[in-house]
Amino acid sequence: MDLFGEANKYWMSKALNEAKKALDRGEVPVGCIFVCNNEVLSTGSNKVTETKNATQHAEIVAIDEIIEQCISKGEDNENLFNSTTLYVTVEPCIMCAAALRLVGIGTVVFGCHNDRFGGCGSVKNVSQDDIPQYGKPLNTISGIYSEESIELLKQFYKGENPNAPGHKKKIKV
């Protein structure tokens, strides 16, 4: 795959748009888009504050939507995920990397690295490690629109997260 190919840049710019929507809603600005054969399956952005559920990262939100679609159509989701590429603005965290392996995603393209929670090499290597019941490792490509992705996070963390009592103000991005 051409790392900085037009297709990757195009879909990543769509993921960035999703991240901006999260910023407008006061959520951590991470956005993603699931694409299969040049067709958008779902988009997602962080919904932790809205749902009061810390697991509702962009990837989980978008996976949920795809599964709901499959259930309503009576289709199998396993083959679909296998031939799908995820574009996400920030490296999937340890939880999301694990979730992506559980659903059997084909390829993950991400923008910037995540030094706090990254599960694709930054903190843990959930994407590549040999883990029982977790299926095959993830194909990952990183660095597309990395600076734009970081910039959005910086904008968010400049303000304080009003939903976290006693939350440390100083957050490394």
């Binding site: 697991t55 706090r116 977790y134 009592p165």
Partner: protein, 312 residues
């Protein structure tokens, strides 16, 4: 049950090699320590005492560490003479022959490690009484047992893969805040822990999955309604509004997988208890996310000892 602690706490001490020599003129001991600390400090082994006392046939003899073998320019007896020359220690103050010995490579964290280390060479040690309490077998409270029983009861409803059950509770007010069981037949991410975390979210007026809302109303309100006593306690202690799983304990039938363990970490859980370890578990087996120094939240974990009777 037992705490799941890091290897640095539970493993035997590791050792390094040193060059040591007997002090034959004990009156010179403080002078010898002083000059050795100046000219031959032990920068990587500050936890070691420089001198140890050994009883030989009822007579006390003193021995001093000259240097770590790894740090010595020439780790043979000739090094002993070089040290004498460099420090100006009179040769008659020390025995003619130095010898190799082993000492703990890091400061002991537990009393057991300290005792083990001191058999080799004395070390400094600060006992952590809270940690010592976590080393033995820990008893479950009545509320712990009640929550664990509920988790087993829930696990019977599980569908797909492991039949796991999860209960998330506030042990201070003794209330069940969220419940879950495996629903991974229909949704690969609906592991019992993910469901229980969403159940807590529903209790707090949020939530992402409608299926969770149903089991939350079915189990949480019925089993543990916020008792007047709990409400009173909350007013007295002036605790802040509940925020995700902050301060809560999770009771799980199985060790959570990486996704579930990380979701508990994101939810700022205080403590996790599980009964059965799993190969892909991330709280002691595949990974140990709960005490990972790179992560911004740590929590304590206990698991059932294999020889314990089932909690009933």
């Amino acid at each position: 049950m037992n705490y799941v602690l890091s290897d640095s706490i539970t493993q035997p001490i590791t050792t390094d090699n040193f060059l040591a020599v007997e002090i034959t003129n004990s009156k010179q001991t403080s002078h010898i320590i002083k000059v050795l600390n100046e000219k031959y400090p032990l920068p990587h082994h500050k936890h070691l005492r420089r001198v140890k006392s050994v009883l030989v046939e009822g007579r006390k003899t003193l021995h001093v560490l000259l240097c770590a073998v790894a740090d010595a320019a020439d780790p043979t007896a000739s090094c002993h003479h070089t040290i004498l020359k460099d420090t100006g220690i009179p040769s008659e103050a020390l025995a003619a022959e130095s010898y190799h010995c082993q000492a703990a490579s890091r400061q002991p964290v537990t009393r057991a490690q300290y005792d083990e280390a001191c058999k080799l060479w004395p070390t400094f040690f600060h006992e952590d009484q809270e940690l010592e309490k976590k080393l033995g077998l820990i008893a479950m409270s009545e509320f712990d047992k009640k929550c664990m029983n509920l988790a087993y009861q829930l696990s019977n409803h599980g569908k797909g893969g492991f039949k796991c059950g999860a209960v998330i509770a506030d042990t201070d007010s003794q209330r069940v805040m969220g419940v879950g069981y495996s629903m991974s037949d229909a949704h690969p991410l609906k592991h019992s822990v993910m469901v229980a975390i969403d159940s807590v979210a529903h209790q707090q007026g949020g939530g992402a999955w409608s299926s969770t809302a149903r089991i939350t109303s079915q189990y949480c309100s019925e089993i543990s309604p916020a008792s007047p006593k709990a409400k009173k306690k909350k007013m007295e202690t002036g605790r802040e509004e509940d925020y995700i799983c902050t301060g809560y304990t999770a009771y799980l039938t199985h060790e959570p997988c990486t996704m579930c363990a990380m979701s508990l970490l994101h939810s700022r859980i205080k403590h996790v208890h599980y009964e059965m370890a799993t190969k892909s578990g991330a709280l002691g087996s595949q990974y140990s996310l709960h005490y990972d120094p790179q992560l911004n939240h740590n929590f304590t974990v206990t698991r059932k000892q294999l020889d314990e009777l089932p909690s009933d």
